[in-house]
């Protein structure tokens, strides 16, 4: 018998509900960028408009696993893992500059390797400064922005950041070690569950996968380097804002209002520079896609369909 030859094929020949029978195929690939294997998820038609999904800390393209199939019928969805995250290589921190400038360089080269000349970007958490740095390099390539708990205004850096700011001001070992709890299982779980009203919607897969990778030998130092470097994004906020003002990319802002890491006060200032942006405040936390996908996916689809 050959594959899918069947004793009873009637089922395949009379599908009663085509959309319910279809699941998009997701591809999991790697591309070499300057000797570092960069892993990415890709789905959707090759000639469709590109949506680049840029993940947050401490996760990877895994955070987009449920969104990707909901967009893949109409968009070419591409979600890379930065070096040090997910399935991308994680060279030792003594051998690789774990800075936002470097991660933006890698993503710029990644986009070039995939021949992406125009794209929309979904940016969240660390994905925001990486995406905005990419936008400063190639502003004309940005077709639209979806911003989710991704910061570009000092109003958005609240008390959660105080110990991190202390490390920015004083790069001592003591101040560095004071951040070590940020890579523990308790904090990873907290990032997903805090501010969420129905935690049964949150899949524990999130912290299982993230923590398995954070617990790899040497990964802690990578994460502490990047927490230390996040301060380099703040002086660029005026440049990010100037990009918004000058280019006015069509923008959808979806923001979990209970996020203590990037709280709601960081969402509203975008409207100063992007007065036409659509702003949706959600009753969710930091990783809003985990419990509000059913609200967010239609908003994102509707926005992209109108914009692209």
């Amino acid at each position: 018998m050959t594959p899918l030859d069947s004793i009873d094929q009637t089922g395949r020949q009379h599908p009663s509900d085509r959309s319910a029978l279809t699941v998009p195929v997701i591809h999991y690939k790697k591309v070499d960028i300057d000797g570092v294997n960069v892993f990415y998820r890709e789905a959707g038609p090759a000639d469709a408009p590109v949506l680049l999904l840029l993940h947050g800390f401490p996760t990877s393209s895994h955070m987009f696993r449920n969104l990707i199939p909901l967009l893949a019928d109409r968009y070419r969805v591409i979600a890379p893992d930065y070096p040090g995250y997910g399935q991308s290589d994680a060279p030792d921190h003594t051998a690789f500059d774990y800075t936002f400038a470097k991660l933006a360089d890698v993503i710029e080269k990644f986009a070039a390797a995939l021949e992406l000349t125009k794209y929309s970007m979904y940016v969240m958490d660390y994905g925001a400064p990486i995406g905005y740095r990419l936008a400063l390099k190639h502003p004309e390539r940005v077709q639209a922005l979806v911003i989710q708990n991704g910061n570009a205004y000092v109003e958005g850096l609240a008390a959660f950041w105080d110990p991190i700011k202390a490390y920015w001001a004083d790069k001592s070992q003591a101040k560095r070690e004071a951040l070590a709890h940020l890579v523990t299982l308790d904090l990873t779980r907290f990032q997903y569950t805090d501010g969420v009203s129905d935690t049964s919607r949150i899949s524990p897969d999130n912290w299982v996968i993230d923590q398995a990778l954070l617990d790899r030998p040497g990964n802690r130092e990578i994460q502490l380097d990047l927490l230390g470097d996040y301060g380099s994004n703040v002086p660029l906020y005026p440049d990010f804002q100037a990009f918004f003002r000058q280019y006015q990319p069509p923008t959808l802002i979806v923001w979990g209002k209970n996020d203590v890491i990037f709280p709601e006060p960081g969402a509203h200032p975008y409207l100063r520079d992007l007065p036409k942006a659509e702003l949706h405040i959600l009753d969710s936390g930091h990783f809003a896609l985990e419990d509000k996908l059913d609200v967010m996916a239609p908003l994102i689809r509707d926005f992209l369909d109108r914009t692209l």
Binding site: T2, S6, I7, R12, F39, R65, P69, D205, V208, D294
Partner: protein, 297 residues
């Protein structure tokens, strides 16, 4: 009418206390819909059903538990819990009773097969339909891969236990996902990252070895399972990764001896067929459920 993917019910992640153990399960779908129970294989958990669950959620109440010692369910020490298939079936039975599921379709894969078939032996009238995916019930399905395990069954010695240990490492886990798969780039590495995270817990390897030793009790039950098939003729869909070295396609074909009306579909893949062939499997499953779960509930 078609239901947009985004409008489907969310998956819930819950635990129930069953016989003193926290048993984790994923659940979705309308509370009054026909129930589909998904029983996972080694060394995974309900995680292996992460893509299937939302794809059934519009029409079925889907329940996918983690067995004790796997995934997010409790992992009592082996001195405190008799890890084995009799206990697994008992716990799943109690969980389903706790959730008010007294008629259901079973999707069984790998370890899920003996668990599900033991459940069927307890309550044949509760089983509305079977989906069997690389889940064995016939000697014909077990080839050379089982030589090390058979040696362990014959003599549960330290040396024979140690010979199984490489199978519990990341290389063994990756082997289970990759062998026989044509398009490696359809495989989500989260599968083995997830499984290995739980296998690497202190004490888990010895638990897994106990379970592997106990698997022989399933083989002893094969005649009883065949008799159940013959007597009750549950509607059955067999979806089988043809390149699976663990459960061979001969094991799929053998079901037809006792279930002549079963639908059998071979898939050009390996053991964890859902990872790369969900796009082929979902239409077959939905059609099958539509035909056989109509009127349930």
């Amino acid at each position: 009418m078609s239901t947009p993917l985004s409008a489907r019910p969310a998956t819930r992640h819950r635990s129930a206390n069953i016989a003193g153990l926290d048993i984790f399960y994923r659940e979705t779908g309308p509370a009054d819909a026909p129930v589909v129970v998904l029983l996972h294989g080694f060394p995974s958990s309900s995680h292996m059903y992460r893509h299937l669950i939302p794809a059934l959620a519009d029409r079925y109440r889907v329940i996918a538990p983690d067995l004790p010692g796997f995934g997010l369910s409790a992992m009592p020490p082996r001195t405190a819990f008799a890890y084995g298939f009799a206990a697994f079936a008992e716990i799943v039975d109690a969980l389903l009773a706790h959730l008010g599921a007294n008629r259901y379709a079973l999707y069984v894969m790998d370890y899920g097969a003996p668990v599900g078939f033991r459940l069927a032996l307890r309550h044949p009238e509760r089983v509305a339909a079977l989906v069997v995916q690389n889940g064995n019930a016939y000697d014909a399905g077990m080839g050379d891969f089982w030589a090390t395990t058979r040696a362990l069954w014959k003599d549960d010695s330290q040396a024979n236990r140690d010979a199984m240990r490489p199978f519990l490492t990341i290389d063994g886990t990756r082997f289970q996902y990759m062998t026989g798969v044509q398009d490696i780039d359809r495989l989500d590495p989260a599968a083995w990252v997830h499984d290995q995270y739980f296998l690497d817990r202190p004490g888990n390897a010895d638990i897994q070895l106990d379970i592997i030793v106990d698997y022989q009790t399933n083989v002893a039950l094969y005649p009883a399972i065949h008799a159940y098939f013959r007597e009750f003729q549950p509607p059955t869909l067999i979806l089988w990764g043809i390149n699976d070295p663990i459960f061979l396609p001969e094991g799929a074909q053998a079901f037809l001896r006792d279930l002549p009306d079963a639908q059998l579909h071979y898939l050009e893949t390996g053991h964890f067929a859902l990872e790369d062939k969900l796009d082929d499997m979902l239409p077959l499953m939905r059609q099958f459920f539509e035909r056989h779960l109509q009127g349930e509930r």
